[in-house]
């Protein structure tokens, strides 16, 4: 009972954050057809920046309730600063072979990793007191779930819902979807495609940085976290299908649960389990479980 409840909550928590990052990957791929290997780096940067933001806020003795907005806000701020400049760099190779695009984002992974070392040092950082600052949910005498997990799950759900609403209901969302379908038509209809690309990329970055910021109180910010996340995020995207948002959700849930279950039951098989699933999916249904037929 204890184990399964922990697995459930842990799984959903993992999945929530993973979905945010994967959604960022998906939308950038869907619109610009670029696979951003550096999404893990943005995640890590979001985590580190979130810690700094919280440390700064602690000097002002803000109440615990402000922690979440501060984390989300710092993630957004970072995205607005980084997103456009990185996008402009990527713009130089939009028309190139996609291999070069992958390699360019790989170069960014290297650059960001050292940037983190430079700014924050190589030792993992942790937030102080944030994780338990919200109390716990007592389910049974021996089972308590920190409310932070639930808050993050709720925040992720809210962000995803807002994101989905934006894509489906707003004018901007329609433009984004149109540009994803057919760039030239969009241009012909006087859509400033470069602005759309910049906005979409920044949005993708934001989903990563906010994800990292939200997750950091539950663990620590370390240099490896970005690289580890890439592997997970790719698993999510492969399982769910490149370009599919519902697929990203399903993929995130699967990967989140498998990770959670593995951690609790068979720690050796944690990564193994995920890859076995990825490979199985790729064998059985190479385009992913829910990919749109391109």
């Amino acid at each position: 009972m204890l184990a399964s409840a922990n697995i459930l909550v842990g799984g959903v928590f993992h999945a929530a954050v993973l979905f945010l990052v994967a959604a960022g990957l998906q939308i950038v791929f869907g619109v610009q057809k670029i696979v951003n290997l550096a999404c893990g780096s943005f995640y890590a940067l979001g985590a580190y920046f979130g810690i700094s933001a919280l440390a700064w806020a602690a000097a002002f003795e803000v109440p615990a309730i402000a922690y979440i907005p501060i984390l989300v806000g710092s993630g957004l701020l970072l995205a607005i600063v980084l997103g456009p400049s990185v996008e402009r760099l990527l713009r130089l190779i939009y028309d190139r072979d996609e291999h070069f695009q992958i390699l360019l984002t790989f170069a960014l992974v290297l650059i960001f990793e050292d940037a983190i070392r430079l700014i924050w040092g190589a030792v993992p950082l942790q937030t102080i007191n944030v994780y338990f600052a919200f109390g716990e949910l007592r389910i049974a005498s021996d089972l308590a779930i920190p409310n932070y997990n639930l808050i993050v799950i709720a925040a992720a759900a809210l962000i995803s819902a807002a994101f989905g609403w934006m894509l489906r209901r707003t004018r901007f969302g329609r433009i984004v979807r149109a540009t994803a379908e057919n760039k030239q038509m969009s241009e012909a209809l006087c859509v400033d495609v470069s602005k759309v690309y910049m906005a979409v990329f920044t949005l993708g970055v934001a989903l990563g940085t906010v994800g990292g910021a939200l997750v950091v109180p539950a663990g620590a910010a370390s240099i490896d976290m970005g690289v580890e996340l890439i592997v997970d995020a790719f698993a999510v995207v492969i399982i769910g299908g490149l370009g599919s948002m519902p697929g990203a959700l399903i993929g995130a849930l699967i990967v989140g649960f498998v990770r959670s279950a593995a951690i609790w039951l068979y720690p050796e098989f944690e990564l193994l389990a995920i890859y076995v699933i990825v490979i199985t999916v790729l064998i059985v249904r190479p385009q992913g479980l829910l990919a749109r037929t391109a």
Partner: protein, 332 residues
Amino acid sequence: MTTSTAPIAARTASAGTLKRALALPALLFLVIFLFPFIAGPHYVILMFSAMGYAIALLGLNLLFGYTGLLSLGHAMFLAIGAYTAGYMTSTRITNFELILLVAVAIGATVAVPIGLLCIRYVKIYFAMLTLAFSMLLYSFLFKFYHLTGGDEGIRIKVPTLTAWDLSGLDTLSVLTGPLYYYVFALLVLLTALMRCLTGSSLGLQLRAIRENQQKAEYLGVNVKRYRLVAFVIAAVYGVLGGVIIAIPVGLADPTIAYWVQSGNLIFMLLLGGYTNFLGPLLGAVVFIFFQDQLMSFTEYWRLTFGVILVMIVIFFPNGLMAAVDRGRWWST
């Protein structure tokens, strides 16, 4: 493109360019051959590693440069080579030749099923699948402590040579002496072999597959089979390179299979130039020496490499060899 297969009439007319075509490789090999006489032991060991990387890159070049398949998991074969060396040198069987043979056998055996699966997909899916497999190996090596030594890895002792009695020589002398030249001979042999393969119908058909898979099929080229052949050959070269790279390090550990290592391999290939046959060798040498110097200079060498890679991708996608090779793009 790479030295293309031209009509015979045209080729005989360009015997001069043939001489020129061989000049640079000959020069490079000469430098490497003389290296132990002109450089200190630290640098000779670096060149030893560079030769190992060059061999691995020759294979990766076949897969990426010629066949157009970007593998983000090639490091898995380097790891297989390293761990084979580790396991075997901890037994009585420490012959270098035997280690290489066993590594090749294991590498090829692993490469066939993985290849069969991966080559069904192209571009990003191929990259992600190969990434997944190498990370699978990484996590296996990491977690199964009792089998693989976990994150501590397995020690690799200096192997023995069948044709040479190494007793009485210390490790450094072996690495800068007999074993160095053994590896050099191997490098020359493998380079010649690769040159032969790429100049054959295999090379031409692989390039056709890279350029236009559908048309290649309609011209009767068995795309799946040749992709698999390229994959397995690349794996074998990778495994050989992995053995060599790991010996001076003296340790086989899981990080060899990490995806960032695969990325470094691609970086080296791009640096040297994947469209040119000598690219792998040049890229490996430049990268290894540059990294060595850079690391003694600053701890932020990743940043430097990242910036360089950005510049290569944007401005010099065909690498150093293109800069050297300028006039001979549509070479005869």
